[in-house]
Symmetry: C2
Subunit: 391 residues, 2 copies
């Protein structure tokens, strides 16, 4: 396991990606295309070369369309890039930078093509890659009804209890209910914010973000101090859609941003699901539209969701229990030691597991969270126990 | 137009079919098969022939399977068949007998094959065939919630206002809301009862049945004095499903009889629709099941329903307005005269229309109802006006 508070990968490339997250907006397609032809450090060097940026680029990358206007945009922000020691200070404070190729990078984001994030700023103990291997996005209206908030919380809690990670956008309404629902049973949840993580928009969710950062992961494409922009919310939605196997829309008016997330999920070939509601409620109209016109699956509970998301080959007849998504042989030695200390029945407390595995309690708890997200262990009355294999 | 209070077709055949409605249960498949080979009067004569029933049947019909047990069943009920004068008295009292081949017979019932009704007992001013050419069934739980009752009433009223006939089963709950919704704007509604029309089950709907008999049609396969039987409700459902172009389930628990009607509609190639509701309500669980597992269309309003039921070739871009389902040239002379007296704009009251057409007010009102059901005229503030043709 990597990336828990300590930097991963080549620091030069990591800091170059961090610099690019100051220079370019998330999802900038010209930058995405350019990074297919040359490493991030070359782009940063070219921006620094001002008027002679073209000569500073490797010859093979100079034919990317739109470079003139893009470099003008990026150069106008050169003053916003902080010195390397400021980035290093953020890393020491608990933010970690994860880019393509890093061990914690969720490779499903590569489906975004040139709109793939240049880098992700992360915070929280969950390993983003492992957590999102078995994840569902739950999104919906900020102005949720009591019905929508209740249903989002119930479905999220049930999914989290079955070892699924709940991904959402950290907004008021359905997003918040989904995160809180997942946290309630001690489950795993990931919030992808449109603001920087230090800015933490909306401000009213300070405590919720603290809770997520304490057990799951906060994610942003923007540097920690950035305020959100209006288009930034829609651009952020593609990351929510791409991280998870499917997106559930719980409540959405006909023009809700949640429908945008659903559309992105559909474009990415992810499963799109919608929870029905009263036809007399405007806040369910978008969900019904998804079902009627877009072919979204009508889901009413967590079981409906997992039935749709279980990959082909997993045993559908076994109910909610699925096999691990990461084989034990691919775990790092510390996590394997913790897994070996988890009994089949009746379960064991984390302190005893830590003792048997020969690791500290903090490490044991962190590893148990990852093992749960990956499907190896589950909570029980006595603490933790190994999940039964599907066969 | 035929069949309004006065007998139609051959009285011998009609009374033979009436007699069979006393002898056999609705949907008896042996009787259905037998009637493909010989006329109803031959079957009645054979039943009367007691032990020599086989010789009394035409030779070509003696190979129908199951005749022995069927004749034993039918013969055990010979005493229940009333004398012809009792049937004639029922006809004078306003009941009419309609069988296959009669002008008022809805030919879509022929899709039921050997389960086609032997005869229908009708009461009410609506012409069943014309009324059901553009009809929708709306069915659901007897134990409807306030939500379900409201939505059923709204959709029915809106459909009736657009010239669609609302078919249902006359039960408590969703059925009643659908009938009442259709009656509210002066629309056309048909109740298919599992009991005889004189018995009128459930008794608590006496006034509702009176209202339907006053402007639409009550329909039963059973003789007027028959109480309903438990299997009779399910058998009746096939008539509701077959009469209409599609069935809308508004609220249904997972084991509701309404799902049986939906299944029959599906088997008959009719459009199956379901109205979603709160996932927290058991009474919407059957609707969600229909959408999730059976591929029922998710509908939220009358417009959704008419979009699905408008036949290919009707102009979908014109909104709810559709062309007439019966061309003016096929109307009888009296109805044509009434149609000619209906202005395009701004509309005219029924008394003035009656005067111009040279018919009595009762006749004018009855014809206007039929013309509305067939899509030629519509109500307006001034009374009635011609519907604009779709082109």
């Amino acid at each position: 396991m990597t990336g828990h508070g300590k930097p991963a990968g080549d620091p030069g490339e990591r800091h170059a990606r961090a610099a690019l997250s100051f220079l370019a907006d998330p999802g900038d397609p010209v930058l995405g295309e350019l990074l297919r032809h040359c490493p991030p450090a070359d782009v940063v060097a070219a921006v620094a070369a001002a008027g002679s940026w073209r000569e500073a680029l490797p010859a093979s990358s100079r034919q990317v369309p739109g470079l003139d206007r893009a470099f003008a945009r990026w150069r106008s922000r050169v003053g916003e890039v902080p010195p390397g020691r400021r980035i290093a200070a953020w890393e020491r404070a608990g933010y970690r930078l994860v880019g393509p190729g890093d061990p914690e990078w969720p490779t499903q984001l590569d489906d975004l093509g040139t709109a793939r994030p240049v880098v992700l700023w992360l915070c929280g103990p969950a390993d983003l890659r492992y957590s999102c291997l078995r994840s569902v996005s739950i999104v919906g209206s900020r102005a949720a009804s009591a019905y929508g908030a209740h249903v989002a919380g119930e479905i999220a809690a049930d999914l989290a209890g079955r070892g699924w990670t709940v991904v959402s956008g950290g907004a008021y309404g359905i997003d918040a209910s989904a995160h809180r629902g997942a946290l309630a049973p001690g489950g795993s949840t990931v919030a992808v914010l449109a603001s920087g993580l230090g800015f933490g928009y909306p401000k009213g969710h300070y405590e919720l973000f603290e809770a997520i950062a304490g057990s799951g992961a906060l994610v942003s494409e923007s540097p920690p101090d950035r305020a959100p922009t209006r288009p930034g919310f829609l651009i952020r939605n593609r990351v929510i859609a791409a991280l998870s196997r499917g997106t559930v829309v719980v409540e959405a008016a006909l023009r809700s941003g949640a429908l945008n997330t659903a559309r992105q999920a559909s474009d990415l070939g992810r499963v799109v699901m919608a929870v029905p509601g009263p036809v007399t409620s405007d806040r369910s109209a978008g969900c019904h539209e998804l079902i009627r016109q877009w072919g979204a699956a009508c889901v009413t509970c967590a079981q409906d969701v997992t039935e749709l998301l279980a990959p082909l080959g997993e045993d559908q007849g076994q109910g909610p229990d699925r096999g691990p998504v990461v084989p034990a042989s691919e775990l790092d030695p510390v996590t394997r030691a913790v897994l070996a200390a988890v009994p089949r029945r009746p379960g064991r407390g984390p302190a005893a597991i830590a003792l048997m595995a020969g690791v500290g309690l903090d490490t044991a708890v962190r590893c148990l969270g990852l093992l749960a997200a990956a499907g190896h262990v589950e909570r029980c009355e006595q603490g933790w126990r190994a999940r039964r294999s599907p066969r």
